[in-house]
Amino acid sequence: MGYSGARGGLAAILAAEDLVRRKRDHAPAPWASTEQITERFRLAVDRVMGEAGLYHEPTAAAALRQAEGDPLEAAHLVRAQRSTLPRLANSEPVDPDELIVLRRIVPAFREPDGPQLLGRTTDYTGRMLERPDGQPAPPDASPEPEPVERTDEQRQPRRFLDLLRKLDLVVDHRGENGDAEPHDITRVPARPPAARSAVLATMARAETGALVGLWYRSILGPDGDVHEVTLGEVRHGRLPLRIRHPHTGNPVTVGEFRVTEAEAIEDLDGAEEDRTKFDVGYGLCLGHNERKVIAMANLDIANRRFGRQGPLEQLLLLTTDGLDSGGFLEHLKLPHYVTFRSMVERKQAMRAAADAGMGPRVADPAGRDCR
């Protein structure tokens, strides 16, 4: 009769899974509800949404809970979930000028068009660790604020890039590449040389730390094509999502989603570049993640300038995805004794060859034969 492979593997795996479930879900502490996670760990949820490339706060929150707070593992859970979902539609092209800002700062200009709106940020707060016992202190009992009418400029301030264009200080790339169909990195693998749309999409769902690390490497690393740039603008806000109505053919807004956006202003200094102007790099990602979009905007302009002549494009496209790098790293934990045995055999063969007097630096008779 045939061979039966029922040995310890399956039982051990099941036991390990059970251990996780018991410790995680039944720890002697209150259960973390999805609402708790979305409300209390907003930035973690946003980071998972961005790196997973799927906008839905409850899904990201559930993934974070299941992953015991590991954002990379959570992003993996969300992406695997997304793989099983049909694509209902491609949205109409979203114009980021429609962003309703929740936060907007313009570091390059003191008084740009529209407000310097700090919004919800801890940028200017001392990093003092707070360790409240029990419930946090109740908020100041300030009266319900008077509703104020929001002006259009306050809602959707003109972007800083527009001001630079008005001053004729920026290279205008609009229309240079026609209106090419965007590269869909979830369907068609992107490898260099790739369209910019592939690079932007890759960065938008890259692991935040990988993007920041790649950028920072240009500051202190031994190489790098990225310049330190001036930040034109950072925004966080809501964008409308529109699709075509199947019966009328007109666009319908089906909801809003939050994004973070950045513009990086590059001082052009190349031999074949227009030194009288600036160029601009662009960053945009799902959720609120300023670190990521600032790195992305820097890397976008660097990639347009230097990506092809150096390793940058390959680095961006192939090394920044958290699932790729994390997955490959973790696979090292799998058994490798077949491949390791093959390596050991070659080491032994080299020694045997050396013992037989045919070791390294074989003098070929051909060399000596020569006249």
Binding site: T84, E330, H331, R341, A356, R361, R368
Partner: protein, 612 residues
């Protein structure tokens, strides 16, 4: 308004009906994705060994944990199939167990651990010892599908190498391996040439399993999820491990080893634990041998026992005499020149030809007044005949090296044509050829010696290996023949043969330049381009290199172009010379005439400077 309570909601009831009618099953790969996998598999089968990109989905297993193999399996499997999953040859390995659960839980196929019952076998790192037949599909989990990764880090360049079947870097790495270590040290995942075309990574399985890919009865599918590639070896396909014709491929072997459980000595064995000894990596086979349920005789016949390592055969392999030289047959309609350059120009920056007016010697500037572009060369004409050497002289920035770069193909020319007598009897403008064909010309039709040896050599490999690169690119596959040819060439350029197996990085500048010259001459190209071949060398070393070049040019029927700012180099090597200034040819003539009776003010200045 009147509403029903949510408890009795019509909408919710409707939803429940819909779900019941549809039947919900947990899927990990939707139908669209499966179709895509099947399309990629079909392409892969049509082009054996070629890595077909596919839109790899995120799976519930980590990338690197078999997500590619899993997608292939889910893509090709059907209800009539029986699946076996192994990891390291072991059905009970944790990865195998994990994947088997996932496949079983989401498809209707049957499961087995018996290879004879299986139709689809998903595997990490092994091919079963049991015979495989046409009913079997092997699906391999591939962590790194790119076999060239070890020799080339740029994926763009790897893609080019595959497209052009330019695998000389791989061959050189094998050559260097033998030189340094006395044998090929590549272990598992040994590279193979599939169907005489693509070089492919073998998953990684041990070398022991590689011979079983050649002319296999079964279909092999390879899935790399992270790198988003699928490739295949269809049944009855030639699969040859990459090795020189006279250096045998070797499988894993340890003297006197056998499985301490079943006693087999003709299987792939892995270390048997802290007490030493070995055990079968294929646990199914091991169990069946012990139970007497295995055809041991047939197995022994397919075991690669003829490819066990044997140091005595390694370096005395049989001679191969299949090599060809890049010699050119001259026919009646072959032009008298070997290289003809017509109206070649190069403009850096915008404007093209429109940038040219207002530049050149009369204007005293190479910068276009209209566009700001730099006109590095314009309207340069010359031809060179076999056995003739032509000089291109001028100060730095005169455009002479630019012209050479345009001819070579290192930079695209803005205008003009370049013809080679050996290519289509000189009728084809090589500037108009696709890059791939231009690069091929550099294997045996046109060689360059750069000022900087690092531009023409890989400093990290040996002198012999650098020459081997050119020879293997030209199709040489005999290790000993390659070494003999390399030795001849190095001897000719007076590099001591004792240095043949040293990395070029350890060589002096003059010696590096000699190696570069030897490499350039390796395939006897009809045209040799020398770009400042002695600049940067000490005077006495430079003199030696010039003498060497003069001797080589005199004894061969090569057409040479020598670019130099140094009149002594030009005078020593060439019969005729062009003088360039600010991108234009300002004077041409016999070299001794230009030196003794220069007409153009610029040439007179150059000569005067040279005589100081």
């Amino acid at each position: 308004m009147t509403v029903t309570t949510t408890d009795a909601s019509a909408i919710r009831a409707l939803l429940a009906d819909v779900d019941e009618a549809r039947g919900v099953r947990q899927e990990i790969l939707d139908e669209g994705a499966k179709r895509e996998v099947r399309r990629a598999v079909l392409s892969a089968v049509c082009v054996p060994g070629y890595q077909v990109p596919f839109g790899s989905r995120e799976m519930p297993v980590a990338r690197g944990w078999g997500s590619g193999g899993l997608q292939v399996t889910l893509g090709v499997i059907g209800p009539a199939d029986t699946v076996k999953v192994i990891d390291q040859g072991d059905d009970a390995g944790v990865n195998a167990t994990n994947l088997r659960r996932m496949i079983g839980g989401t498809t209707d196929c049957a499961e087995t651990t018996d290879t004879r019952d299986a139709t689809v076998i998903q595997s990490r790192h092994r091919i079963p010892e049991e015979a495989l037949g046409e009913r079997h599909i092997m699906v391999y989990q591939v962590p790194v599908p790119e076999p060239l990764r070890g020799v080339e880090k740029s994926v763009v360049e790897c893609g080019r190498m595959h497209a052009e079947a330019d695998y000389s870097k791989m061959w050189v790495s094998l050559y260097e391996d033998i030189v340094r270590n006395g044998l090929i040290t590549a272990s598992s995942g040994y590279p193979v040439e599939v169907d005489g075309r693509y070089v492919m990574a073998t998953s990684p399985v041990p070398r022991w399993d590689v011979p079983r890919l050649h002319q296999a009865e079964h279909l092999n599918l390879y899935g790399a999820g992270r790198e988003k590639r699928i490739y295949a070896i269809p049944p009855h396909t030639d699969v040859h491990p990459l090795t020189f014709a006279d250096v045998p491929f070797e499988v894993e072997y340890a003297p006197d080893s056998y499985c301490k459980l079943c006693g087999s000595d003709d299987v792939f064995l892995v270390e048997g634990g802290p007490n030493g000894g070995y055990v079968c990596s294929d646990t199914e086979w091991c169990t069946r041998v012990r139970e007497g349920d295995a055809d041991i005789v047939a197995h022994r016949k397919r075991a690669p026992l003829g490819q066990l390592p044997d140091p005595r055969r390694r370096l005395v392999g049989t001679e191969v005499e299949e090599e060809v030289h890049g010699t050119v047959e001259r026919t009646a309609d072959t032009p008298e020149w070997a290289l003809r350059v017509s109206e070649v120009g190069k403009v850096h920056g915008s404007g093209g030809a429109a940038a040219v007016p207002g530049t050149g010697p009369e204007s005293g500037s190479a910068v276009s007044p209209s566009t700001g572009a730099i006109v590095a060369a314009w309207d340069v004409d010359f031809d060179v005949a076999p056995g003739e050497a032509l000089g291109l002289i001028g100060e730095s920035g005169s455009g002479k090296s630019t012209v050479l770069s345009c001819v070579v193909g290192d930079v695209p020319a803005t205008s003009g044509t370049v013809r080679l007598g050996a290519v289509d009897a000189g009728r084809t403008d090589v500037l108009a050829l696709p890059d791939e064909q231009r690069r091929k010309l550099r294997i045996d039709s046109m060689a360059v010696v750069y000022q900087d040896p690092a531009a023409g050599l890989n400093l990290d490999i040996t002198a012999g290996g650098n020459i081997a690169e050119r020879l293997t690119a030209a199709g040489w596959r005999g290790y000993h023949r390659i070494r003999r040819r390399a030795a001849e060439l190095l001897d000719r350029v007076e590099v001591p043969l004792s240095r043949m197996d040293d990395p070029v990085r350890t060589f002096s500048g003059g010696m590096r330049q000699r190696v570069q010259i030897a490499k350039a001459l390796a395939t006897e190209p009809a045209v040799l381009l020398l770009d400042e071949p002695t600049t940067g060398l000490d005077a006495s070393v430079a003199a030696g290199v010039i003498d060497l070049l003069r001797g080589l040019l005199a004894e061969r029927d090569i057409a040479a172009v020598v670019v130099s700012h140094d009149f002594a180099v030009i005078e020593a090597l060439t019969d005729r010379t062009l003088v360039m200034q600010l991108g234009r040819v300002v004077e041409r003539g016999l070299t001794d005439q230009l030196f003794h009776d220069p007409h153009h003010p610029y040439t007179q200045r150059l000569v005067a400077a040279a005589r100081r």
